[in-house]
Symmetry: C2
Subunit: 331 residues, 2 copies
Amino acid sequence: MVKAKKWILAAEFAGEPKDSNFKLVEEDLRALKDGEIICDAVYLSVDPYMRAHVFPVGSCIIGEQVARVTESKNADYPVGCLVQMYSGWRSRTLINAANKTATEAVHLLKVTDLGKLEPSLALGILGMPGMTAYFGFLELCQPKAGETVLVNGAAGAVGSAVGQIAKIKGCKVIGFAGSKEKCDWVKSLGFDHVFNYKEADINKSLKEAAPDGIDCYFDNVGGSFTSKALQHMKEFGRISVCGGISVYNDTKPALTPDAFMTILSQQLRVEGFIVTRWWNRFPEGKAVMKKWIDEGKIKYRETVKEGFENMPQIFMSLLKGANIGKMIVKA
Amino acid sequence: MVKAKKWILAAEFAGEPKDSNFKLVEEDLRALKDGEIICDAVYLSVDPYMRAHVFPVGSCIIGEQVARVTESKNADYPVGCLVQMYSGWRSRTLINAANKTATEAVHLLKVTDLGKLEPSLALGILGMPGMTAYFGFLELCQPKAGETVLVNGAAGAVGSAVGQIAKIKGCKVIGFAGSKEKCDWVKSLGFDHVFNYKEADINKSLKEAAPDGIDCYFDNVGGSFTSKALQHMKEFGRISVCGGISVYNDTKPALTPDAFMTILSQQLRVEGFIVTRWWNRFPEGKAVMKKWIDEGKIKYRETVKEGFENMPQIFMSLLKGANIGKMIVKA
């Protein structure tokens, strides 16, 4: 009998996640049937969206991982082959790789075409966060050369990619991040203006960096940052609402100045999205991002922490901004 | 020397408009030069947007009117011909109808193609409010047959048209208006559910009328109505932000529950607009609306009040909901 571990939600999140929200449980995996495989986690993803997602107490905490096949009764997935899947915070997963329904549920994919790149990138710049930046920015903001783009969470996995894509598209890019080290890195990526939101006056910074206003705003942060940013949008500006890390821990919706009158007077288009709407186009997005990486046009960074047992702590540190680039847990 | 009267802004609006915001002044019109005409106001439009518009103290209050040419030095605009133009709250206007720039500034048009219909409709269902409904709803909400549409201000010039267009497109339509008489009329237009927002519990009404949620929301009202409506939007819902009559008199932006997290989690698309973005397509929109009126598919109503001297009072009553359908001032 093979043992596996998983992190389950022990109590619903309320405010900042704490140790008591998480429980590590062990389970026995049964013997494999035809078509099934067992995979051992190699890299696990922790992402801010996990805080916002609502799922039942007692269920495994959601998330994607890169795993290696360690037992196989499926010739298409031999032992040693690398896969990625949304199997949650599990050290070891038994899955029927031949069953289309089961496979779709966890979006099982082989990790391929990375060349010399680390497989962890399948969870970052060449995975969900990269696609979030690629589609969420290009499809919803529809940036044009010469336009001014604002992105917050600019040192995160998504924000750092958005700003670089905007530069590739010929835009002027303004980024906000939360420490000097982060700002220095973001600046090195080619952003035109970078501010530390913990120190800078946001209104003053935006007025200085975008005196004529902002055409595209890619929002990872929400809350009071967004209320301020809204006042700097140009007529016909586009806002892609990707996340709200500043408000995920709020226990009820904060009161903010009415956004709709600004949306009206400036004729803004504001759209929220979850990246899975573009699942079918991921191969296209990954191919373009891979090409840009190979050409040196997109740079990335990972913050790799060790230990499946440490996942709750690593996740909680992520929500406090401990990462530069993509936060990865090495199992 | 021909005399003319105009209403100017005597003091910036602050809170509810009051008599002291308006001043009636007389002016002398000079003799006509080649290409110029003088037109006498026949019908003047008062619309909620006039409250939201910011313009300098001392200038003529903005607005469109239907006027009759009473003197002419332009063969294209003979005496007796009807025009419409954004010349503001003026009893009599001198304008160079041959000067493209001047003409564009006030969007001078001949009133034509109305058949047996009253020329005042050029300010309503076949004019700006009708086009606001037609383009603002169809272009931004992109309704599909079978979808559920919510519109507030449903007894107004715009809202009543939006609901009927939605019915033509095969949607289920929920309307909110502010009196029994208004609700009865809106119901007679074919809306599926109509509620009096002054008496009904908005959340309960929406839950009852749209148990599966709202696909398209056409917002004329803003404020707390919108905060509630947001919670009933279906995933991938579209919101067309047309107006905010409930908040126009606010002296500073009200605090409302953060809309962005709902926009995110439901993947909503919210777009504000000013109808002038579709100027070039007005002929197309007017032709379709005219056809629908001729076929009996679109009904309209006007609240006609008399007296150029009474414009401020009529406008103030409009902001308090005194109109059913389009509010018109007969000069």
